[in-house]
Symmetry: C2
Subunit: 545 residues, 2 copies
Amino acid sequence: MSEGNEKFVQDNNQQVGSSSEDPSPKEGAGSEKRQQKLSKAERIALRNQANSENSLVSKIDYLSVHDDTTQNFGEYHLIQSQAVAASASRVFSSVSSLNKDRVGEQVWIRARVDTIRPKGRSAFLVLRQSQYTLQAVVSESDRVSRQMVKWISKEVGEECILDIYGNVVEATVKSCSQHDVELQVWKLYIVSKVKGRLPIRVEDAGRPEWQEGVHVLRDTRLDNRVLDLRVPSQQAIFRIQSGVCQLFREILLREGFIEIHSPKIIAGASEGGAEVFKLNYFGQNACLAQSPQLYKQMAICADLDRVFEIGPVFRAENSYTHRHLCEFTGLDIEMAIRDHYFEVVDVLERLFIGIFEGIRQRFANEIELVQQKFQISPITYLPPGQNPRLHFPEAVQLLRENGYVIEDLEDLSSENEKALGKIIKEKYGTDFYTLASYPASVRPFYTMPKADDSRYSNSFDMFIRGEEIVSGAQRIHDWDLLESRVKAKNIPLSSIEDYMNAFLYGAPPHGGAGIGLERVVMLYLGVGNIRECSMFPRDPKRLRP
Amino acid sequence: MSEGNEKFVQDNNQQVGSSSEDPSPKEGAGSEKRQQKLSKAERIALRNQANSENSLVSKIDYLSVHDDTTQNFGEYHLIQSQAVAASASRVFSSVSSLNKDRVGEQVWIRARVDTIRPKGRSAFLVLRQSQYTLQAVVSESDRVSRQMVKWISKEVGEECILDIYGNVVEATVKSCSQHDVELQVWKLYIVSKVKGRLPIRVEDAGRPEWQEGVHVLRDTRLDNRVLDLRVPSQQAIFRIQSGVCQLFREILLREGFIEIHSPKIIAGASEGGAEVFKLNYFGQNACLAQSPQLYKQMAICADLDRVFEIGPVFRAENSYTHRHLCEFTGLDIEMAIRDHYFEVVDVLERLFIGIFEGIRQRFANEIELVQQKFQISPITYLPPGQNPRLHFPEAVQLLRENGYVIEDLEDLSSENEKALGKIIKEKYGTDFYTLASYPASVRPFYTMPKADDSRYSNSFDMFIRGEEIVSGAQRIHDWDLLESRVKAKNIPLSSIEDYMNAFLYGAPPHGGAGIGLERVVMLYLGVGNIRECSMFPRDPKRLRP
């Protein structure tokens, strides 16, 4: 990289002269136009003035940087809304907007220093703004004093935030996202500095495992998550995560759902399990909801008809695996059905394929960044309605045919799930499929038994690449049947009294499903560890940051 | 109401004959067409057959109801996905879709019984589907046996869920949302029954305070929230709430924000306050986040640039007022700013006016339902940028001019806020305005002090009708200044170590705001109590349902 940089830097220096004469600046070109028209003598005078003044650089008022007589480098006073109003006199350009079309423009950008490399009478910076990077070069010239270059080399470090005013010039910078331009720096101010030493370098945190160089352990990255999240591929993951949520909602609103918010602090255990976080609620025993399950069903009993919720769910499960978190974001749906729980599967299939397609279209750049780092291939799927739906006994048979040992009514192990994923991929050509009619014994008490064989249930899981992304079912809407299931599972009726009562007053047939947002993102992108897809993950060993 | 009903019922009976001869049924008219062509003799034979068979009504298979030989009334077997696939052979119409344009059609609907009134050889039902109601009439006729009417009068109670097949006829039913049609019932099946007695009647729960009749206390309603939520105006509130969330996101995504999910279980107290819910996290002390404040700021330090979050926030505050909840849905934003925190206010003003306008346009029907019940007028506001922004000293002066007593650096009491709301409404003609530059002493430690007068801060609240809906500020992004404020407020640095560290590595100037979803809905609609806008509210006295 460094060699390539040097080469183009020379090209760049040659271009500086011509582009600074460019008579048609397109943006932010108010007072700059005047400055361009200064005679050479005036410029030298200005430069000398700066040189003498800046032996001790004092702090700069950010409101004055448009003024030609203001020093063209330095550190701002703390930005404290000193301006009279919000009206920014400067127009800032985004790094991502800078490309060949804007060559010859003078622009303001505010960006972070990814790397800085002083070299003789120049300094070469890579600037970073979210997942976009741009090279900037400060070289001693008519506009730029030796003092300025020296000051920058000394004062500007990695992860500083800068305001830079400069000239967009053509260049080839393969290592930056903006690979056909660079910025020739005319003014440079420090907005925010790093205090002390960086615990990890962002460049190291972002280095793919397969690439030579310094690597930072995941735990160290997560300990310093604020720095780690600045890695462009990490930024991309969270932009995609945001996109998944938005597509989830867009599609469900289109399907007639409304969004609800159910309580997270509840009396009793949300699904009767033991793995709950307990708390004291003004003297009463309470716990954190393990899912919105009971409340979303109550919303259906309250005639909201089709509901979804996006919210945290809490599992006090002492599992330390690549796919478990103790707090994650649940994507939940619940809907009245007319006849059959496959009505829910139909919605989910449209939903997921809508999400897959939407992400592919809206976040192509982000997917590429993540895939570059993790070296993974995109998932395959068929159009809605064409992805296989196997019933549990069929899956058992497929596994047996392929030499796996499994009991009829036993849940699938992770290994068997993975194996089944491969078998189905080979047979049907898709990474995405549904497995239905699970044994009743491996599903929660509220799952509707199969009408003609109560050993099985009206339940399903959906998979990507052999890993479960959704779990759902028809729910029992009949109070008597529900009561018998609660008793059979030895759950104290008193612990779910409010839930039970909801089925006394005429409950509609209904079904739904629960999805883990982080898991969907992990499996869609093939990232390999769920912690990469949680901004500040929580597992049995991690409560911070 | 009953008189009107009787009158139109007679009209209806006259229309039956003609509409059953209608040669152009538009929907669900497969097998029905055949049935219409039965001769009178055949019909009578069918009717007699039914009469003799139905002395003891057995349960009906819901897959068979299209079959002419199946009894045309009864209770279904439990719907347990008996159908082979999701393909519903029946097309159901929504209650809201039935109007004059569909007169003469035969339709299936699945709806709940709002009220039922047997009367001689007829029974009059009001059917309810979410916020829509429709009158249905069963009258003895060629198609409907006396036995059927008797059975319905005996077996069908309020809040039952029914499948009804019937003929849409013209009628005037002022008391129903579908006021120009009613359904003449040909087939009726019970999908789901009520078990035991209803603890409250939905009609009573929905009765406006100003209207004569039985009223249900709010606490009783909330104790039976699943029934209470079936009230059309309550349904409307939650559809509007869902709409507010969606508009919030749509507008912020357009403004370049992304959605994040910050952890709710945190080590230490989220803002250093005492009013937190504590819990045990695998042997470590933890608590529930009082807001996403610290984490959304960390997301900005991690270069996510503009973020929002919709999620639960938890306040162990022993306040029992009309506007406090112990768990509510926070709408939070945080953004890097260039120069001034009014950049945040600009975004928020566009956001709120976008929400107000969006709700008005998309939920006109729902707003009307709520306003009918609570007898409130819509709020007034000016276009974005034109709503007043007062600085705190100006507000103090306005209050003093109007005879209120207030110290220079004292926070506004609720009474003073309300008074100010009235003064501003009178002076500027808007219910919506911003109050900025609060005294530093009444704002949290992370609030940026005013540059030229540190007694004040770069903070603001936004109001509707004199009640705060948003609280926001520029945040301190400088570690040293932040540290001095933390110390001044006697917060142990160790309790917010991760947060503090985020400011060591070059933090951008930023600001943001927090909003309570339930409060926005309450104030926009003028509902008067925040519990009406929380599906399952939590206050110091209420942990259930």
